[in-house]
């Protein structure tokens, strides 16, 4: 599974999307990352990551209903594709393999 490499930020974004389930659009994704990963990332960086992940086929998106509080614009909800889920598992497994035997560091 070398053909789909995921960077750290990409993994974080994908995991946040997975955790959010049906409610994954940019604002809660950003909050999720801040809350769970304890990292503040720039809004622009998130959009760039989202665009790249969609381009790579890791994310799919659909539009919600237009909302007044968004100035009549719809939310764009993201969902992780099966291939990305595989790649995530792959990355995790690879890391776990590398960690094996290094538990003393913890």
């Amino acid at each position: 599974m070398v053909d789909l490499y995921l960077g750290e930020l990409e993994q974080i974004v994908l995991l946040a999307v997975l955790r959010l389930g049906d409610d994954a659009y940019a604002i809660p994704i950003l909050e999720q990352i801040e809350r769970q990963a304890g990292r503040k990332i720039a809004r622009g960086a998130l959009y760039t990551a989202l665009a790249r992940l969609e381009q790579k086929g890791c994310l799919r998106s659909r539009l919600g209903e237009p909302l007044a509080e968004r100035g009549g614009r719809a939310r764009r909800y993201f969902a992780v594709t099966p291939s990305a889920v595989r790649a995530l598992k792959e990355s995790r497994a690879a890391l776990m393999r590398l960690w094996r035997g290094l538990e003393v560091l913890e």
């Binding site: 940019a26 622009g44 968004r70 100035g71």
Partner: protein, 867 residues
């Protein structure tokens, strides 16, 4: 701001869907945050979006866009790696750019487009030209205006306006406001439609039907609390009832901050004169017509009128201007030129500093560059990279520049007195705008090319082998360049220093130097008596007598005087005179002198010395022999080598006056020379209907303002008083233009001196660091710290000295410009030049001292080991 943010966002994203998403997200998470927040967010997003994918993936062909973006990214990264240096450069450049941006804004608002009217370039100002008609805003005679209006085919709504001191004479609340009497087409010519009611039509000019007014929005608010039923109501103006027919739109206050407009009308008993010139004439070009059309047509009309009325119109022409050009004060152009030149010097010095810093960096990176060249990097590539870095620096400095410009403009606006602002069309609108942003950005990038090109070329030219062989020490050639830059900075800083110094000294002398009278402890005010209530001399005499009687007993009042044109109050007049026994050499060009009509105690009040003879007394009355006092300069000019006392003269067609005394000269107004020949007459023998009152007080004159106003109301409850302020304040306001000139140049000069000093400091510090080994050797061989100091400080002084010598030459050239701009207030002097050259050298000494001391305290052992 929010709309601008959205616009920017749309521009920086290629994908419409993504834009919709992000715009929605921003709106949803913005809550009640401002447009600025939006803009901040968008800038962050745009930055990420722009660099998206630039560094990633195999580059498919090195497209120009791609390389440029990569260069930009590298450049910003390089800047971020050196925050201190970047900040210093951005601040330096920001100062230079900010100064230019601020001056640009002033020029843009005051000269290029001062009027907020519809198509201002199509509004014409027509001036009558001829002997003595120097003031183009008030040059047209009423009869000529009427003929122009009847005959023109290139313009519509040709209309005239006349200055009007409108006294709102409601009992108990009298107020004098700036007004204008205007002919019918006036509002149409300017493209102004009343917010309420109507403007004027031709019929309104009919005498008897002319007592109607349009009032300004401000006056409507102040007097009627914006009540729409004000239309049709009456108000007392100059003692007569006027019907309000319209309210002008907000902020319309043309000309000169007018607050009330009435039709310009002539009593049929006294038809409009052709030989008195006081009207301002404006008109609007018909569609398809140009200024040239109007101008050639008016030339024809002028020629025709000169034939028809040779007595009054011989040699008279008509000059056609755009409104902005016609209203432009002659001094403004010079002033802006001086400021722009100063701001440019500041920018140039800033550039020189940055070029120097960049050269130093390039020197540090020579090895890196050498290696890259050896590995096959193209020179163009390296050149482009360095240039991009300069451009990135420019981009970073733009916000600083805007900040400085904004600060500068805020201070400029705050310091200007309100009653001057109305005479400076466009002043109200000074402030940052989109044009300022565009100008600053373009200038920033142009500047980047100037300061970036030198180091870039040098880096790209470096020879591969030599840079690699060299132990990292720089060649002397580069030092020479850097030293030359420092000399250049000193050279251009000195003229600015000298010019600013002259301005400050000249203005200060004018403001605080001898005036010919004692301006301390004086309260001044002005009155204009309406013809209706004070129709004849007797009424005016009575008013003055009662006024003097009412003011004298107020506690704290020492002395009261009245003059038609008190000094520094902005009014002056002159009279053609005839001197007994000295017929005018050229009858067409008779002598003309300053015209002062004063009450007897005026001289004591202002403490104007009576040098010979006597002053006026209460015995000089209407029925006694007509007397005159002449100023010292008048005595010298018209009775050279003789004693004027006892001689006779008369104002054109007036009675013969006998000279009884000689008074000291006073400075009537800053732009007049001190020695204007002036004739004084006593009020009782030549009453005027407008005058200033001067009150000498025992304590703080400002504290008497209220009792004085109340006393005047007791004399006539419907007579307004205006410009009530201390004489010191008057002087301040009269010279505000000069103070601005000097102040702004002073600030610019201080900045450039500072920048030049920083530049010298940087070069000295850098060169000494490079010479550490050499200094170590010297000290090891027995040189003392003092020798090292002498060596290094001497070196700095050599540079500064050369700069000072070269700068002296430039100073003389700039001084000439200053003298023209300041009407001789600032005259160049060798002492001033020497003083400022000294200041420059002292600053250079200080800048060189610190690095030199550090060098002198070096431990030779350590110094020798430095690589």
């Amino acid at each position: 701001m929010k709309r601008f943010a959205l616009w920017l966002l749309e521009r920086s994203l290629h994908d419409r869907e993504e834009f919709e998403m992000i715009a929605g997200d921003l709106e949803e998470s913005s809550g009640s945050r401002s447009g600025t927040w939006h803009l901040g967010q968008v800038i962050g997003i745009a930055r990420h979006a722009t660099f998206r994918g630039v560094d990633r993936g195999p580059s498919t062909g090195d497209s120009l866009m791609r390389t440029t973006l990569r260069d930009a990214r590298l450049a910003f990264r390089a800047l971020r790696k050196r925050p201190a240096l970047t900040t210093v450069i951005a601040l330096t450049l920001g100062l230079g750019l900010g100064a230019n941006a601020a001056v640009f804004n002033l020029i843009d608002r005051l000269i290029l487009r001062p009027f907020p009217f519809l198509d201002p370039d199509r509004i014409m100002l027509l001036a009558e030209t001829g002997k003595g008609l120097d003031f183009k805003k008030e040059s047209v005679s009423p009869a000529n205006f009427r003929d122009w209006r009847d005959r023109t085919t290139t313009m519509t709504s040709l209309s005239a306006t006349q200055w009007w001191d409108a006294n709102l004479t409601d009992r108990g609340n009298p107020e004098r406001v700036q007004g204008a009497q205007v002919s019918a087409g006036f509002f149409d010519a300017l493209g102004m439609h009343p917010a309420l009611g109507r403007g004027f039509v031709l019929d309104d000019e009919t005498f008897g039907r002319h007592r109607i007014v349009v009032i300004s929005d401000l006056l409507w608010e102040r007097r009627f609390q914006r009540d729409p039923t004000a239309i049709g109501r009456r108000m007392m103006v100059d003692g007569e009832p006027y019907t309000i027919v319209g309210v002008a739109p907000q902020r319309f206050s043309f000309p000169d901050g007018a607050m009330i407009w009435a039709p310009l009308s002539f009593d049929p008993k006294t038809p409009p004169p052709r030989n008195r010139h006081y009207l301002t004439v404006v008109g609007r070009l018909k569609p398809g017509r140009t200024l040239e059309d109007a101008s050639s047509e008016m030339n024809l009309i002028a020629a025709r009128l000169a034939q028809e009325y040779p007595d009054d119109n011989r040699d008279h022409g008509i000059a056609t201007f755009t409104l902005s050009a016609g209203f432009l004060d002659e001094g403004t152009g010079t002033l802006m030129g001086l400021w722009q030149a100063s701001a440019f010097i500041v920018l140039l010095i800033a550039c020189a500093n940055i070029a120097n810093l960049q050269l130093a960096r390039a020197a540090e990176r020579r090895r890196e560059t050498g290696v890259r060249l050896a590995l096959g990097a193209s020179r163009t590539r390296i050149l482009r990279e360095l240039l991009t870095e300069s451009l990135a620096l420019a981009a970073v400095s733009v916000p600083f520049a805007l900040g400085f410009a904004w600060l500068f403009l805020v201070v400029m606006r705050a310091a200007m007195p309100a009653n001057i602002i109305r005479f400076v069309p466009g002043w109200e609108t000074i402030g940052p705008d989109f044009r300022l942003l565009a100008f600053t950005t373009v200038l920033a990038f142009a500047t980047a090319c100037i300061f970036g090109v030198l180091p870039a070329i040098q880096a790209a030219r470096s020879r591969v082998v030599e840079t690699l062989k060299d132990g990292g020490r720089t060649a002397t050639g580069r030092h020479l360049l850097r030293r030359a830059i420092v000399v250049l900075e000193m050279t251009i800083a000195l003229p600015l220093l000298v010019a600013a110094g002259l301005g400050v000294i000249g203005t200060n002398r004018l403001l605080n130097g001898p005036q010919g009278y004692n301006p301390d402890g004086i309260l001044t005010m002005k009155l204009v008596l309406p013809d209706r209530t004070y129709a004849d001399d007797a009424a005016r005499r009575t008013f003055v007598t009662r006024t003097l009687a009412a003011l004298a007993p107020i506690p704290g009042v020492v002395q009261v005087g009245i003059a038609n044109n008190a000094p520094a109050t902005g009014s002056s007049s002159s009279r053609v005179i005839e001197i007994d026994g000295h017929p005018a050499a050229d009858p067409k060009n008779p002598p003309e002198v300053g015209n002062e009509v004063v009450t007897p105690r005026y001289f004591q009040t202002l403490q104007i010395p009576i040098q010979r003879g006597r002053g006026f007394t209460d015995a000089d009355r209407q029925e006694t022999a007509p007397v005159a006092i002449v100023s010292e300069s008048m005595a010298r000019k018209y009775w050279p080598g003789e004693d004027p006392i006892g001689r006779r003269l008369r104002v054109k067609d007036g009675p013969w006056l006998t000279v009884v005394g000689i008074a000291g000269d006073v400075i009537q107004d800053w732009f007049m020379r001190r020695n204007v020949p002036t004739l004084y007459r006593v009020f009782d023998q030549a009453p005027t209907d407008y005058f200033g009152i001067v009150v000498r007080t025992a304590g703080d004159p400002a504290s008497l303002a209220t009792p004085v106003r109340e006393a005047l109301l007791r004399v006539d409850a419907s007579q307004p008083v205006f410009d009530l302020m201390t004489m010191r304040r008057q002087l301040h306001e009269r010279t505000i233009g000069l103070q601005y000139l000097a102040g702004v140049m002073g600030v610019f000069a201080a900045i450039s001196l500072l920048l030049a000093a920083v530049g010298l400091y940087a070069v000295m510090a850098y060169m000494l660091a490079q010479r550490t080994q050499e200094i170590g050797i010297r000290m090891a061989l027995g040189a003392s710290g003092r020798d090292v100091m002498r060596l290094t400080v001497g070196d700095a002084l050599k540079l500064a000295g050369l700069g000072a010598v070269l700068g002296t030459g430039l100073s003389m050239a700039l001084n000439r410009l200053m003298e023209a701009g300041l009407l001789g207030i600032a005259t160049g002097s060798v002492q001033v030049l020497i003083i400022f050259a000294g200041i420059l050298l002292a600053t250079a000494l200080a800048a060189a001292y610190f690095p030199a001391r550090r060098a002198a305290m070096l431990d030779p052992n350590t110094a020798l080991r430095v690589q």
